[in-house]
Symmetry: C2
Subunit: 332 residues, 2 copies
């Protein structure tokens, strides 16, 4: 578990897309964000109090999050002194970088000397088992998609929140770096050695009370030429009872890679179901989550209504309009 | 590339199944096996000359292969001195162990001091790209299966050998430890970080002459609850023109994991084709490779004939009877 709450380190990052992790944590775990630390006035303002590590520690912070993705993925030289200052002030460090903090001798030495933990969420340290495929008690929902980066994490978080607001015992299970920092726990599926993908997914949502729901953040897409292996391992290990299909109606093809047009939503759902039945023959779809950020309000509602009619499932935008019907369908 | 030929280190291993790697190399690359080194009379005899490292080096050996899987996967203490002796004699070390040789200080230090390379095939050192999904020239065959460990490697090796014997420009592409030691090169797919499975597969069979064939060793099975993610990433990255389905008729369910009965061969083929079409819409099956080791000769031939009629594809046992018809179908 990552200790909370956080001091959010923003460096000099001014590009919103590079600060997705920080913005996601602010949106979904505002109670875990004590303060922000910006190295320059150009850096994105999360709307939090400005503090240096010592003040943040006194205000309750337990860890400093590197909430931004540096260009090229390497650790900027300029971040080393702030990381050391945070550890000196008593904070752990939380990083989603591909670069390893432990490869920087000054950081590794200080963590060792001060007894701080470097939570490198893209570099899982625990070993994972080979998946057994055995069914385990508890209920599981997995978000799946027509592509990457179209709302699987937000949809999962929104469903888990709605379930909890109804008094249902539910946990959000994070599979990517931002989700892990929001939840304080999870497994970065894309960083797991491939023999252990499904085993890591089994570990992520362990046996639970039969009425308990794990709402699992999906990864990739089954028709994505780069990442379908991760998607399938996560699908098999999660053994979902319920799937939610996440889709962005402004896309008709895989965004990152030219030449891969989507199949129809019906064909895509059939493919997911056919594969998911291997480890849970009762699996079903309970809804379609639309990312309607490209549409005006009226168009978004009209599209949702049309898709509800054609697909025969509740259709919702978790950031825009009601997920109650979808959660009703999940629980049905 | 791993330097050849090899001195085969057999330790005290007396269990055939634990010596699969050594036996596979002896069967498929006998010209690369200079000698064997057994620590006791109980060890399996590969039928090679017995030599210590210095004599093997003088006889031409360039590397010593740890051809056996120790119980528990850890490096036996008793192997350290022989490994050091081999490096002192001028040999690189080839290991398929999960344990890292570089974690043994005496071995790491000696390799550094002597300038020897530790070829740890389960621990790929090169970084892999994210898959692009772009088609590349050259022809590709991939073996796929109803389960693990039923002949995908042997089938691939036999097809590549048959192609070369016909004067076709063909390469066997290894994806597991034994295959890599036979070929002297390859990528252990199960050791690749999951984000890069398909990208590693693209790297493994790079752009080639349009008439060149890569015959790619398959991994796992698409209906295996533990390993389907590896299978799918390899399938997408390989972009196969031709698939060969490998099957053991004595099995009706996944061997390693109870509760996963096979689907019919036809359903299994349809699933592979549906998924493979994402990166190569022209993909087709050219044959079924049967592992008939559980059957007598007459039963094996009768089963192959019956399946040829029902499945409409050449059916062969690469270790037992002719693969010519299957290779004809591949080339058709």
């Amino acid at each position: 578990m990552i200790p909370k709450p956080y001091l959010m380190f923003m460096g000099r990052e001014s590009v919103l897309r590079s600060a997705k992790t920080a913005l996601g944590i602010r949106d979904w775990a505002p109670q875990d964000c004590v303060a922000q630390w910006r190295l320059g006035a150009e850096a994105i303002d999360l709307g939090l109090a400005e503090m240096r590590p010592r003040a943040a520690r006194e205000a309750g912070a337990r860890a400093m999050v590197l909430g931004i993705a540096p260009v090229g993925g390497a650790l900027p030289e300029e971040w080393i002194a702030p990381i050391l200052e945070a550890m000196e002030a008593g904070l752990d460090i939380v990083s989603g970088l591909h670069a390893r903090l432990t490869d920087v001798p000054a950081i590794a030495e200080a963590a060792q000397r001060l007894g701080r933990t470097l939570h490198e969420v893209r570099h899982p340290r625990r070993p994972f088992p080979i998946a057994t495929g055995h069914r385990r008690p508890g209920k599981r929902l997995l978000t799946v998609g027509t592509d990457c980066a179209l709302g699987k994490k937000y949809t999962s978080l929104a469903i888990a929140r709605e379930m909890r607001s109804r008094g249902i015992d539910a946990d959000f299970r994070a599979t990517g770096q931002t989700g892990i920092m929001i939840a304080g726990d999870g497994i970065a599926m894309d960083a797991v050695v491939s023999d252990f993908i499904a085993g890591a997914a089994e570990t992520l949502s362990p046996a639970a009370h039969p009425d308990h729901w794990d709402v699992i953040e999906g990864q990739g897409a089954i028709l994505h030429p780069s990442f379908a292996g991760v998607t399938l391992g996560l699908l098999h290990g999660s053994q979902p009872d319920v799937l939610i299909l996440c889709h962005d109606p402004s896309r008709s093809a895989i965004a990152s890679t030219p030449g891969f047009p989507f199949r129809s939503l019906g064909e895509t759902r059939d493919l997911y179901l056919s594969l998911a039945r291997l480890t849970n023959p009762q699996v079903r779809f309970a809804g379609i989550a639309l990312n309607t950020s490209s549409l005006g309000e009226a168009d978004a509602r009209a599209l949702a209504a049309a898709l509800e009619a054609s697909e025969g499932l509740p259709v919702f935008d978790p950031l825009r309009f009601g997920i109650a019907a979808a959660v009703d369908a999940v629980l049905a």
